[in-house]
């Protein structure tokens, strides 16, 4: 196979990975939160060192 063919295959695989991520992300968001897990308590002491930007606690703390 030529280098161009390999390049096309690589691009197709990378796009497929991106599509897989988007689909799994949408499915994760659409899956309902299990009962009793709606308001998971935040542990201030343990959360203080973490900076995960998707975490609601981080966003709230950032706004303050």
């Amino acid at each position: 196979m030529t280098k161009e063919a390999y390049l096309i295959i690589a691009i197709v695989i990378l796009v497929a990975l991106l599509v897989t991520f988007i689909v799994s992300f949408v499915l994760y968001r659409k899956t309902p939160v299990p009962k009793g897990c709606e308001n998971i308590e935040i542990n201030e002491e343990n959360c203080s060192h973490c900076s995960h930007k998707e975490c609601s606690h981080f966003i709230k703390r950032d706004e303050e």
Partner: protein, 199 residues
């Protein structure tokens, strides 16, 4: 038979001697964040084992059979992040759907598997060191099981610490970090146990 023994020794080596948490400080965020309860640390550890082993199995061929022949090995980090992020979403989806108790105990730390640099570190390290597939797999299994071992042992110690008389200034994270440091020193004692392993 020799390959099998070397494979097992390589796993033990990555698990005990080159433990990523204690020797390279990878994955500190979930290590400190999810280690207050043994059950949640076990759940996090098993999820990390699953993600690291699968990421290793996918990333090694992706790099060697796709990115290198295509002349774009510099895209490895992007490709690995996509693989890991997809795997974590799928694991998260599975836990959310089928294991509400684990979902509750992991809580806000579930997405932390994505930001666990041990996962990316193993995949990147395997290709940077030019390991073959078997060595990469051994490194992946050993690293992830090492993470599981350390986080469970650490959570057991933290449970005991909750009921012990710790000086006020050391309560919480300070004493946890001191415990982690003592564990790192203890694991340093295993250096030189296995040397010159070639698969």
């Amino acid at each position: 038979m020799n390959i099998l023994i070397s494979f097992l020794l390589a796993i033990l080596s990555s698990m005990l001697i080159d433990n990523v948490v204690l020797s390279r400080f990878y994955g500190i965020c979930p290590f400190l964040g999810v280690s207050r309860k043994v059950k949640s640390s076990l759940g996090m550890g098993v999820a990390v084992v699953f993600v690291i082993v699968l990421a290793t199995v996918i990333c090694w061929p992706l790099y060697n059979f796709v990115l290198v022949p295509a002349g774009i090995p510099f895209m490895d980090t992007v490709a690995y992040i996509l693989v890991i992020a997809s795997l974590v979403q799928l694991v998260g989806l599975f836990i959310k759907k089928y294991s509400p108790s684990l979902y509750k105990s992991l809580g806000i730390y579930l997405p932390l598997i994505t930001t666990n640099c041990a996962v990316l570190g193993v995949a990147q390290g395997n290709t940077d060191q030019g390991l073959n597939f078997l060595s990469s797999l051994a490194n992946g299994i050993g690293t992830s099981v090492g993470f599981l071992l350390i986080i469970v042992v650490f959570s057991c110690i933290r449970v005991r610490l909750e009921s012990s008389n710790v000086p006020k200034a050391f309560k919480g994270l300070p004493i946890a970090l001191i415990v982690a440091a003592i564990m790192a020193i203890a694991f340093m004692g295993l250096q030189g146990l296995f040397s010159g392993i070639q698969l």
